[in-house]
């Protein structure tokens, strides 16, 4: 009886609040679009401003975290998804979620202008569309390296040499998309057995694993550690800010993934989500992507970005997204069992 009464009272109260809210916003009903993203925080407001200028009736609300966190958050909400659109998340993650039936296909206006490699070829209309590639790199602090007499590493193999013991930091692949693309690229480059053996060797040199993919490079830039395995954008950004670092693209080849978007299946704001999708493949958006990233989905657009390692594009491995998506959970669990005791005591 009592709970019934409570229920009725709260329903009335909630109804009242909603009426008030509608009355207040009725005149200028802006659509709130809930966007889950893993794009670096320092770029988000720029994207929001640019998009909302073209679509003034839509208001983007970001939920930002590292790739791994956003992925597991989406997984946890599977029964009752909260996001309208996932935007700027690794294609591997989107494919994995797509296999669970998370998304609806949509071909944004202008999709044809994108390179075929850069959007979902398995489904028509595609479930996910790529925006730009982010590429692994190693940040090497020359000042700190000088203190310890560390030679400049040029390959992944170099990093397992005893001279670097305790001087390397990399992101935890369970939380960081950059960490995952490193692991995935090593396994693809060297094959599973040799890949895990390589990581065993690397593990003995690792000082600790970080939560986010940008932190290793930020730590290297500040001299907290001589070597941070991170990604090119973060390295270039830190170098531009005056950090004494070299950004290295190891000779064996480097992992990469696509920042991509996908529309959530039962979104209540389909029109707004599609508007963001359309906007995201325009030349205008591509030019913004290119400000900080050297590889974007529309061919012939990208200009070289300051302080990216030379020849980085030719070193990008032939990345098998489907394989990575299919094996993501298995790889991450194996990684956790083997190395996670050394992880930072924080979000995995």
């Amino acid at each position: 009886m009592f709970t019934k009464l409570l229920k009725r009272l709260t329903t009335v109260a909630a109804g009242g609040l909603m009426v008030l809210g509608l009355a207040a916003s009725g005149a200028f009903a802006k659509t709130d679009l809930l966007v889950y993203t893993a794009i670096e925080a320092d770029e988000l407001s720029m994207f929001k401003k640019a998009f909302e200028k073209d679509y003034p009736d839509i208001n983007i609300k970001w939920v930002r975290d590292s790739t791994g966190i956003v992925t597991s958050k989406l997984m946890a909400e599977k029964a009752n998804p909260k996001a309208d659109i996932v935007w700027g998340l690794a294609a591997t993650s989107l494919m994995m979620l797509g296999n669970e039936g998370y998304f609806q296909g949509y071909a944004p206006k202008g999709l044809k202008k994108l390179g075929k490699l850069y959007y979902d070829q398995a489904n028509n209309p595609p479930q996910w569309v790529g925006q730009r590639a982010w590429i692994a790199s190693v940040c090497f602090n020359t000042v700190e390296a000088g203190k310890y007499n560390l030679p400049l590493p040029t390959s992944w193999a170099d990093l397992t040499k005893p001279v670097y013991k305790g001087h390397v930091i990399m992101p935890n692949p369970n939380s960081s998309g950059t960490g995952f693309l490193d692991v995935s690229s090593w396994l693809q480059l060297m094959g599973e057995d040799k890949g895990w053996k390589y990581m065993d060797g690397l593990h003995t040199n690792i000082a600790r694993y970080t939560h986010s993919g940008s932190k290793p490079c930020k730590l290297a830039a500040r001299g907290e550690i001589p070597i941070g395995i991170s990604f090119a954008y973060r390295g270039a950004k830190s170098k531009n800010a005056g950090a004494p670092i070299e950004i290295i693209a190891p000779i064996e080849g480097i992992g990469w993934d696509l920042e991509s978007f996908a529309i959530v299946k039962n979104t209540k704001n389909l029109k707004a989500a599609r508007a963001l999708a359309d906007w995201s493949v325009t030349k205008k958006a591509m030019l913004i992507y290119n400000r900080e990233y050297a590889v974007v989905a529309m061919p012939g657009i990208a200009k070289p970005v300051k302080n990216f390692p030379p020849g980085i594009l030719s070193k990008m491995i032939k990345n098998d997204f489907a394989w990575a998506a299919k094996n993501r959970v298995r790889i991450l669990n194996k990684w956790r069992d083997k190395y996670d005791a050394k992880s930072e005591p924080k979000k995995k």
Binding site: A41, S72, K73, R222, G242, P345
Partner: protein, 564 residues
């Protein structure tokens, strides 16, 4: 319900008033039921379920204790909490000894400095430690090749963060010592050492033990410090976070937070028992102890306090300096750029204003609810069962770690079947959670103040047919102004600095400053994290100053009657 006998002796007119009081008391009890009992029940039951909500008995606990990566944290937590507790209680004891038993100068300055860490989120001293003792720290040589990331850093951070809490408890018990015992000891020919062991220590032993328990509980449930400087050293508090945020494994999160609940509840219960014993120490004939000057002793004590003071001020200064530096450690030119939060993780500048808003609401609403509740518990007549139940309810929040409370709120308020579901992801739920988290101490402050007021006021006004709410508003509230201000200040400062409970409850629209510090540190933006931490310290410090001014002004107007 209330015993009939108690009702029988009250006249009819008053009885209807009694019903109003009981109604309000019932409403507050209902609030506590919804804000702590039901969420805790939701938390406990979640620990025995699998992902789909099926009852699985002790399976989750078996998994916890058989996974070394998880169970190792129990030992780690106990270890660092014990070590930190011993260190912090010893340090605070000598500090309190200096403040109460010496004639050194600048006592109020040293007391003020010691309280600074209260104004910080626990993340901030840890961030400072990295700037001091990290690879680029200017004091790193003092670690003799050891790393700050790990147990060393955790212990250092916790000691600084917990110091003021422990100091205050010891100070109170020291200032209650009976001066006559010292005179007796002296006239019987005991030296200072003997006096120390036969008079000083026995008289404050309960205070020391109580301080130890409080310190232990605060340390084992704190997650700000280990989060920032823990390195590879896993503890329970960070594990809860790791399970919930990192892996979205809510069931295992519930299990770890229940494990965390055990030491907290034990420490809480032990502390309660000891407090009850403490009561009889001071008799009505006691004379406050007055220290006599002794140049050498006073100089040593001044030096000691100065040393501790320098560490605390140093921690704050380093954080402040780091937040103003362009690019630590390579470009030390000054800038305010780190205070531009719009480009950082953690919700940008909005998070700061959200925090101020949240803290203000917490202070205003919390003080009203808590003080009214305390008044009714203390002054209403009859209704013994209700008041006893209430007394039990108000003690509960103290025993529940913030992380467990926050997680419990997810389970309870985010349940689709809960009619209160609409509160989830809003500012009100953060306010409710914070009021509840800090309910007990506020309630006890109010009770202490109310106990000083003679119940005759109520009897007299009742016989003059003045309704109780008029007496409450015209007599009780003005008399209790200092306590009311204390409560609101306590709530405001804690709402500004707390991370543990709210870290699970904020939404994109209600990001908080303390959580922003955490997220910026996670992303490697340590300078901005320090900057946001400094914003919190300045705001909480400002509130404290305002509180001091208000207390002085209002005390003059409302407390003049206390002076003869």
């Amino acid at each position: 319900m209330a015993p009939a006998a108690a009702l029988g002796i009250v006249r009819h007119k008053v009885s209807s008033e009694d019903w109003i009081m009981r109604g309000i008391l019932g409403a507050i009890a209902l609030y506590l039921l919804v804000a702590i009992v039901l969420p805790l029940y939701a938390l406990l039951s979640k620990g025995f379920q699998d992902k789909d909500g099926n009852f699985t008995g002790l399976d989750n606990f078996t998994e916890f204790f058989t996974t070394p990566a998880l169970s190792q944290s129990v030992a780690n937590s106990l270890t660092i909490s014990s070590i930190s507790t011993v260190i912090v209680v010893s340090l605070a004891f000598v500090y309190a000894y200096a403040l109460t038993r010496s004639c050194m100068a600048f006592k109020s300055l040293f007391k003020g400095i010691a309280l600074i860490p209260i104004l910080m989120p626990s993340l901030l001293p840890a961030i400072s430690l990295i700037f001091m003792f990290g690879k680029q720290g200017f004091l790193t040589f003092m670690l003799f090749g050891n790393e700050i990331y790990g147990p060393i850093g955790i212990v250092m951070g916790e000691v600084i963060y917990i110091f003021p809490h422990v100091l205050m408890i010891i100070l109170i018990s020291m200032s209650m010592s009976d001066g006559r015992l010292y005179e007796a000891s002296q006239s019987l020919g005991a030296g200072p050492v003997r006096t120390f062991f036969t008079v000083t220590l026995p008289s404050i032993r309960y205070g020391l033990v109580s301080a130890g328990f409080v310190a232990f509980t605060l340390i084992i449930t704190d997650f700000g410090v280990p989060k920032v400087v823990g390195g590879q050293y896993n503890v329970l508090a960070t594990d809860v976070y790791k399970q919930v945020i990192g892996r979205q494994d809510f069931e295992m999160g519930a299990v770890v937070s229940m494990v965390l609940l055990v030491p907290a509840v034990i420490a809480f219960a032990a502390d309660r028992i000891i407090q009850r014993k403490q009561v009889a120490i001071l008799t009505a004939r006691a004379v406050p102890y007055a220290p006599t000057p002794s140049p050498r002793f006073d100089a040593i004590m001044t030096a000691y306090c100065a040393l501790v003071g320098i560490v605390i001020v140093g921690i704050l200064s380093v954080a402040m300096f780091a937040s103003l530096v362009k690019f630590w450690p390579y470009n030390l030119s000054l800038t305010l750029a780190n205070y531009d939060f719009s480009l950082r993780d953690g919700g940008g500048g909005d998070s700061y204003f959200n925090s101020v808003k949240m803290a203000s609401w917490t202070a205003v609403i919390g003080t009203c609810v808590i003080f009214t509740g305390a008044y009714l518990v203390e002054k209403s007549k009859g209704f013994l069962a209700g008041r006893a139940a209430m007394q039990f309810l108000v003690m509960m929040p103290m025993a529940v770690p913030g992380l467990s409370l926050g997680l419990a709120y997810i389970f309870f308020f985010n349940h689709p079947g809960n009619p209160l579901n609409f509160l989830y992801h809003t500012l009100p739920i953060l306010v409710i959670c914070t009021i509840t988290h800090f309910y007990t101490v506020s309630h006890l402050t109010a009770i202490t103040a109310l106990k000083q007021i003679d119940n005759e006021f109520e009897s007299v006004s009742a016989s003059l047919k003045v309704p109780f709410y008029k007496t409450f508003w015209r007599v009780t509230v003005p008399i209790c102004v200092p306590a009311i201000l204390d409560i609101s200040m306590y709530l405001f400062v804690n709402a500004m600095t707390t991370v543990s409970a709210v870290v699970f409850l904020y939404s994109p629209d209600t990001a908080l400053a303390s959580v922003a510090v955490l997220n910026m540190d996670d992303a490697g933006e340590q300078a901005s994290a320090a900057a946001m931490g400094i914003m919190i310290v300045l705001t909480a410090g400002g509130a404290r100053l305002l509180h001091a001014v208000l207390t002085r002004g209002l005390a003059r107007r409302t407390q003049a009657w206390r002076k003869r």
